[in-house]
């Protein structure tokens, strides 16, 4: 097994390739999301130079979309930042879920893992290693960065394409739907037992019912409710019910 000491973590080179390969099926999803986000940034009235800075520095579609109208209308920075914090609450939950994998890296390495840790990449990472006992190995770090690097490049290229192509695509085409379908393809294989299925149904319901809540608070609330219900169902007879093959 060949290893390299990257600045971000010691990794197995084969794992980098495995991770990159694991992301490929989701690459169209990420590209469409990035494109839609890039288009939306410029359509909302954000000057191109700020949109470019935003995608490179922030690298978080949901936080970008939620704060755009506030930035464009010149809201106080504190309001914009608090909005982003609330939209990002689910990442706090993700970081708790993934903590075991990164705890033994240096502070700088852990910060960088945080920067690059988006929704899709993390979902695929957890799906791959959830059943293993070990948490935090050069194979896992390599796999993470294989996923993350491809995720970052695809997202940024698509986002920049959207920024510079703004005004060209028609909102009636349903590009947003294409992005949603891609997410469906990522989430379905994760529903491998009854608790997971019941949890996502609850999360979906809370998310839709909570749409009127300020600053997208319905999203973290949906995650908390879904996780709590999944966990509660685990200890019932339904908890043992497995569905389909485990990938």
């Amino acid at each position: 097994v060949s290893r390299v000491e990257l600045a971000v973590a010691p990794v197995e080179t084969g794992a980098l390739r495995d991770g990159a390969r694991a992301l490929m099926p989701a690459a169209p999803a990420i590209a469409v999301w990035g494109l839609v986000t890039g288009l939306a940034m410029v359509d909302s009235g954000l000057p191109t130079r700020w949109a470019v800075l935003m995608t490179l520095v922030v690298f978080a579609g949901s936080a970008q979309l939620a704060t755009l109208p506030l930035i464009v209308e010149g809201a106080p920075p504190a309001v914009i930042w608090i909005t982003a914090l609330l939209v990002n609450l689910r990442f706090v939950i993700f970081s708790a879920a993934g903590r075991q994998y990164f705890r033994h890296l240096s502070i700088g390495q852990r910060l960088f893992a945080g920067y690059i840790n988006g929704d899709l990449g993390f979902a695929l990472f957890i799906r791959r290693f959830d059943a293993e006992g070990e948490r935090g190995s050069p194979y896992q770090w390599g796999y993470f960065y294989g996923l993350a690097a491809v995720n970052w490049v695809v997202w940024q290229v698509a986002s920049l394409a959207g920024i510079f192509a703004a005004g060209w695509a028609d909102s009636e085409w349903g590009l947003e739907l294409a992005a949603v379908l891609a997410l469906v393809a990522v989430v379905l294989p994760m529903l491998h037992n009854a608790p997971a299925v019941i949890g996502v149904v609850v999360a979906a319901a809370v998310s839709v019912l909570g749409v009127g809540l300020p600053v997208r608070l319905g999203l973290p609330l949906a995650v908390v409710c879904g996780v709590a219900v999944s966990f509660a169902v685990e200890s019932t007879p339904l908890g043992q019910l497995a569905l389909g093959e485990r990938r």
């Binding site: 970081s95 705890r103 945080g114 929704d119 294409a178 393809a185 979906a204 319905g218 879904g226």
Partner: protein, 107 residues
């Protein structure tokens, strides 16, 4: 809004995203979270993705559209069925977009 203000706001957004994404990673390694919490949190990514999907489809732009006239809903249902059957992302996206587009043009 000046360039300087925009840069401060955007860099601030980047820092906030970094801090939230890295939050628990930064806990000292010796600290253990309660095992039941760590077990429960394995469900978080799927719940977050499904919450995003449901919001986009059933409440696009913040307005509820929970009804049978929702073309996006049928697109997603058709695509989900195709994916479970074929495991092909290309097939599911094609079917989902075709169903959506046909209903949109017919509606």
């Amino acid at each position: 809004v000046t360039d300087l203000t925009a840069i401060v706001v955007i860099v601030g957004l980047g820092l906030i995203t970094l801090v939230t994404r890295a939050s628990f990673f930064l806990l000292p390694a010796r600290i253990e979270l309660p095992a039941p919490i760590e077990r429960a949190l394995r469900y978080a990514p799927a719940c977050a993705l499904m919450a995003i999907i449901a919001r986009e489809v059933l409440a696009p732009r913040g307005a509820h559209r929970v009804n049978v006239d929702n073309e996006q809903l049928w697109g997603v249902v058709a695509a989900g069925a195709v994916f479970i059957w074929t495991r092909s992302m290309l097939a599911m996206m094609t079917v989902g977009m075709v169903v959506f587009t046909v209903l949109r043009l017919a509606g």
